[in-house]
Symmetry: C2
Subunit: 691 residues, 2 copies
């Protein structure tokens, strides 16, 4: 019965990918592209070759995106995506964030420690096998465990067979399961990065806004066996530019959207989750800003994290603004009510789907009871420290390894271990003073919120958070990758024999964290999964139209047009130019955040100032799309997505193309700056395919 | 090669069980009885039927002994063996320790909570399968793990197949492995116990001495399905008594002897282990005595534990006196040196066995490094509390259950779980004030010895041991067996979700304990096992004579004669009488520890005062033999072993029959007191087989 329905659903989805009601909305699956919508709206016939080429030219950067832009393994992404690598390659005396970097020869390219890139090789529908693992008599938690086991087996099977990293992706809240297979690359070298000042021109105030003038790009090259790889599927360069109304596509890894969420789930985010997140980010931002005031080297150390926090904070405030928008929420509530009424009227539909909304509401209510504890312990908000994070990974790695593969915590399954182990053994800079500052702050919050918890009493023992933080950071030996290796290799025996304070702390708090996680995985996650899937099916059944799945940090295709919009009655143009950038800097007296680096000041005379630097389009995107290549009909690289305007933030929940725009660095601007400012002719030749 | 040698060894042992050089020494295996020694020395032909009957009439009481003495499941043991049951059946208003107990009818018999008795059904030699699990290229720790795995499999197989509790016993330090199968009984009811005052007449001062006047017996009855079991193999009563020179046998569960230990091992006990144990017992004795001074009810609560500690303390001091006896140790050293010289002279023997002594010495040296930590954490000396013990069992039960059977800590294997679970769910009295006193004392020691250990710092947090103890004892819900059941059933999820302070504490210290245990099981135990086995084989090879294995808490047969001895030139008679008992009480003004209860004072006139109460024999015994039936050639019950004289204590290491004697309650004394003092005619009739 269940399987029949599932098959029906899949047929429905396959047949009905027609234009949705919401214009260019959609973060589409590469194996289910919106072919008829593209045909109907834009007369564009998407071919299997076209889409396969774009898929193989797309590169996954952790939670973000990039693309091959030459046949020699050259990968283009955003500066802010490559920032971790830049920070890791910097020292007190070589600040690549500040100075930028350009490798004039391949020999000068710098290997980024611990960096891992992935290319999606293929996708397989495994819904039948995953959903087939559950039986009608199971509780939601049992069903979740059964599916989880099937997923672990599928992933391991595929990895063992193909050698490719294999991950099952849960789509439409559990209505479909697809197996993604990635080729993984670990030798990634820095080729070019501009100065942070020009990459993030306008700084935090201008983040998530438009018009914008950011040169937010970085180039890496992938090596294997000490040679650049041959990247056959790469994007050719669009030198002709784009004009209003041009159809474009973005290919990247949007992290998560909540467009299929119910009112109860959105209210949970609005009333419980986001308020916590925002306050937490705000406090941490202030902390890191203070830390940076101790001196330039301190500012440098804090920069990467501070950027991340400011970026996330601004995004979250934007999402929250959507949830706090009464008109938007009223409409959502009305739509949901209308849909539920429609379901309720049909006894068969009501029996099948009717309870889903209330059960979801129940699950969110339960989650609210322990959400804060979950974030502090399992989420780590009470223990912000790179060493603590390592210690916990080492403790859990050792523990989970003693279990059969399919009974482990997801992130410690065999398929995940090579990357985890590599991360543990990589040397990346950690700054002990910064660690103390972060850890102290986290402990203060921990005591404030959970001071009555026995474990927290143990940890504090009447001492000050700062003294504890100093002791533990000074005492841990985890800064030495050889020591970490000892724990990776030695397993539980080494962990139990350890006298490292961070290992001991991780051991001490792990039971609480696991308890909370278990609770989440029993009381919240499976209820959300089951009822989310029910609602997705109900939408298919009732609306008979296609709805793209919510984002899941996996490769998606979105489309749209280069399009201006109106703001306060004023037309906002499709692109900005270098001229606008120089003007803005001059107006600000070249002071941060509108300070241009020496290279740009010196090169101004050589520049064609009318060259576009950034541009906008209606294509759907969200965090994780950073670094996404944007291509034209011919599949040519036309720009790299790096942001959305402020109006795009509520699109996490409700998309609209009235003002919502993605923001890209323009392909012409890239060539202009590389040529005139950086004198990077060999790189330009490589991008343009000139010998 | 290894197997061939093992077979040779077994043949040697089977063929050469002739009289050892040390007279009546020996705690013999029931499946390898000293037949030729008995024949040669005493002209006694031991038959398979005789020994099987004695085996099936023997009952295991935890770590002690007892026997069937009627066809209706009646079991006789010592009062001090049954003491736990008496304490558990007592309350503030019904103090069975003080008043004694006699069930005139079966309906009055009292079910002892949590009591478990076992009867050995058969023994199988599984040496080949256990030793066959190791290969020549394994390290000692790997070999130990391999043997352990084989043992777990054997035990599980046997339990699954037979329904009998199956345990593999390691004999001769790993030269032989025998599988013991037990029938387990859980419905055990109290039938008769005398007053503590007469059971332990003379108290701690007279413990481990002779002459002695203790009526140290208790009778239980085993039920199944609410009916007494039919105990076909029971011991008929010897009414005729015994005389000087009579051959007797004892059948029981001697705990451990160290007669095959090397000098290095004995020095470890003398210099590291016993000094720790003795000081610990002395401190705890003082603590419990102080506790008892708070009032009669306090004294009652502490009595059971105090008795146990005084008993063990006296025994350990006795063992230590042997180790501190220069003459004895010099002789042992000389013997060992001579033996090692003999080995060294023969290159083949030297190659095979020569290194064993030095390796053992190395292992003891390593053990000394963490012995104290091991005792405090894994041994629990730092956490003396019934609740903590429960909490740790619950935490470990939940953890170990997630592992495959053969990878678990031994005591959590499937074969051990029914008993463990039953223990967890049984209601037995725990006294919170006593818990606080014990726990406080343990925590004070813990802080003194391990105050610098991070976990101890956490626990203390600047607080006083007593405050911590009060908090944790008051806070734990483990007093409620329903709560314990929740953890037994709920596994790790319930443990992790727990807010019980004892559970949290057990979780917090478990990694340290496990680390120490792992260290012991890697660095000490397997080295002792391998080299102990080597030495045992060397003894067989060189001496060509039989040596009984050291005690292992499993059923053993010893033999000897009723025999007086000389002390300070004075002959110590083979038995004492009730007359001596009354005289001693009168001389002491009937004050403790020579205070006779009202029943004995009132009944004096009816008594035949010449009836023997206690008697002695040369048969080998050690702690665990308490409650052992002593039988004559006809296999008739002639007394119950309850002690050894003070000269018997060093026999843990070196047996001598010059003065070393076991002490028994006499079968005639039992009948006399039951009849005249307690008017227990129905019980007497049952014992004598009269209707």
């Amino acid at each position: 019965m269940k399987h029949l329905k599932l098959k029906l659903l899949i047929v429905l989805i396959s047949l009905t990918f027609i234009v949705p009601a919401w214009a260019d909305e959609g973060l589409w699956l590469f194996n289910m592209p919106p072919a008829s919508a593209l045909k109907a709206r834009y007369g564009f016939a998407i071919t299997p070759e076209w889409i396969q080429h774009l898929r193989l030219a797309s590169v996954r950067f952790g939670g973000a995106s990039g693309s091959f832009v030459s046949p020699d393994g050259l990968v283009l992404t955003n500066h802010h995506v490559g920032q971790g690598a830049l920070q890791n390659l910097s020292t007190k005396d070589r600040d690549l964030m500040k100075t930028g970097f350009y490798a004039r020869t391949r020999a000068e390219e710098l290997k980024a420690p611990g960096m891992e890139l992935m290319v999606l090789q293929d996708i397989e529908d495994v819904t039948a096998r995953v959903s087939g693992a559950e039986t009608a008599d199971m509780t939601p938690a049992q069903a979740a465990a059964a599916r989880d086991k099937a997923i672990a087996a599928l992933e391991k099977e595929s990895t063992d067979k193909t050698g490719l990293r294999s991950t099952v992706v849960n789509l439409y809240s559990g209505s479909m399961y697809h197996l993604y297979r990635y080729k993984v690359y670990n030798d990634v070298r820095l080729v070019f990065a501009p100065e942070y000042a020009v990459a993030f021109f306008g700084g935090d105030p201008d983040n998530f806004t438009y018009p914008r003038y950011d040169f937010d790009i970085t180039l890496f090259r992938i090596y294997e066996n000490d040679k650049p790889i041959a990247s056959k599927s790469y994007l050719k360069w669009n030198t002709a530019g784009l004009k209003e109304g041009d159809l474009i596509f973005a290919s990247g890894h949007p992290g998560s959207t909540g467009r299929l969420l119910t009112m109860a789930q959105m209210e949970f985010l609005r009333d419980v989750s986001y308020p916590f997140t925002i306050v937490n980010y705000q406090r941490r931002r202030a902390l890191l800003q203070d830390y940076g005031k101790r001196g330039p080297e301190y500012a440098r150390q804090a920069q990467g994290t501070l950027f991340g926090i400011e970026n996330s904070l601004k995004a979250t405030i934007g999402y929250q603004s959507g949830l706090l928008d009464k008109a938007l929420m009223d409409k959502k509530a009305k739509d949901e009510q209308a849909f539920r009424d429609a379901i309720r009227k049909d006894p068969a539909l009501d029996k099948e789907f009717g309870r889903a909304w209330d059960e979801l509401a129940q699950a969110e209510k339960k989650y609210a009871e322990f959400f804060k504890a979950y974030r502090f312990f399992e989420g780590g908000a009470g223990f912000t420290s790179g060493y603590f994070t390592m210690a916990r990974s080492l403790v859990r790695l050792a523990t989970e390894r003693t279990k059969p593969n399919d009974e482990r915590l997801r992130e410690y399954r065999d398929t995940a271990l090579p990357a985890l182990t590599r991360r543990m053994l990589t040397v990346t800079p950690i700054y002990d003073e910064l660690e103390v500052a972060n850890f102290t702050d986290a402990l203060i919050q921990l005591q404030k919120e959970f001071g009555q918890q026995l474990e927290v009493k143990w940890l504090f023992a009447g001492r000050l958070a700062e003294d504890i933080a100093k002791d533990y950071i000074a005492g841990t030996k985890l800064k030495d990758p050889e020591v970490r290796k000892k724990y990776v290799d030695g397993g539980l025996d080494a962990i139990y024999a350890s006298d490292d304070p961070m290992i001991k702390l991780a051991l001490m708090v792990d039971p609480i964290s696991r308890g909370l996680r278990k609770r989440y995985e029993a009381e919240v996650e499976p209820i959300e999964a089951r009822n989310g899937a029910l609602i997705a099916r109900a939408i298919f059944k009732v609306k008979g139209a296609s709805v793209p799945p919510d984002a899941t940090s996996t490769l998606r295709l979105s489309f749209g047009t280069v399009k201006s919009y109106l703001e306060n009655g004023k037309k906002i143009p499709i692109n900005t130019s270098f001229k606008g950038m120089y003007d803005l800097a001059a107006k600000a007296g070249n002071k941060p955040p509108y300070e241009l680096p020496a290279s740009f000041l010196a090169g101004k005379a050589k520049m064609n100032l009318e060259t576009p630097i950034d541009f906008i389009a209606t294509c759907d995107s969200i965090g994780g799309n950073s670094g996404s290549p944007v291509v034209n009909r011919k599949g040519e690289f036309s720009g790299v997505l790096f942001d959305g305007n402020i109006q795009s933030l509520p699109a996490r929940f409700v998309y609209s193309d009235t003002q919502n725009r993605s923001v890209m660095v323009h392909s012409q601007g890239i060539i202009e700056a590389l040529t005139r400012i950086y004198g990077a002719q060999p790189l330009v030749n490589e991008l343009l395919g000139k010998k």
